[in-house]
Symmetry: C2
Subunit: 138 residues, 2 copies
């Protein structure tokens, strides 16, 4: 399992809380706010604490498994493996996933140039969705 490897490699333990938080993000299939993660994760672990969710989300970000994303109404988290290419409406926050991306091949180039170990990327286009566009017309 991805989660287990990533945690172990970085010297962290694989705990129930961490498994259940990762699972919540995986099954949701969309970015979740910390509060939503807590609610979802409690279905598989009723006693889960709020502080632990925050701690775990931060940890999963550091470990590279999860990516934080801003939006109207606060930050949301999603698995780093899904939906890294999207259109997002700056007005209403609507999102639309893109199939794929023209930036894939740059990883080695960047590693060479900056000594950065690139593991993933996020490509977002900002603008207005069809609805907001129409509404903003006049």
């Amino acid at each position: 399992m991805q989660l287990e490897r990533q945690l172990r490699k970085a010297g962290f333990r694989v705990t129930r809380a961490r498994r259940v938080v990762a699972a919540a993000l995986a099954t949701a299939g969309r970015p979740l706010s910390p509060a939503e993660v807590l609610a979802a994760a409690r279905r598989g672990h009723p006693g889960l604490g709020r502080a632990t969710v925050y701690r775990t989300l931060n940890l999963l970000v550091r470990v590279g498994l999860v990516v934080p994303r801003p939006g109207p109404g606060g930050v949301r988290y999603s698995l780093a493996s899904e939906g890294m290419h999207r259109l997002v409406c700056r007005n209403c926050g609507a999102e639309r996933l893109l199939a794929d991306c023209p930036a894939g091949g740059l990883a080695e180039e960047l590693a060479r140039r900056y000594g950065f170990q690139v593991e993933g990327h996020l490509l977002e286009f900002y603008g207005l969705c069809p609805d907001c566009r129409r509404r903003a017309k006049p």
Copy 2:
């Protein structure tokens, strides 16, 4: 001025608070947290209120002038015109700006395909900076 046009076009007023907040972001040259914006903006407008900063940042995002960016320690805001291509370390949050980008030409394609009016984009590569990379070695 960019600010004035963008606000007027969307039917909002151009006020002292808005000017001073935008100026704070412009002169900072790096993403600022709301608290930092407040502090910076108060230099040019001592009586500025906290609530107004939040209101203004959200407004400038909706209007497309400012972009929110998550990171260790909360969301930060920067002008949409600067630094939209970067390397960011998932561990310590260090950033490195990139000169330019391979995704520029996609705007029309996306407009055609999805009816989206693309105004800008964000391309971020995630991974480990040289320092964190070394430290994570063992």
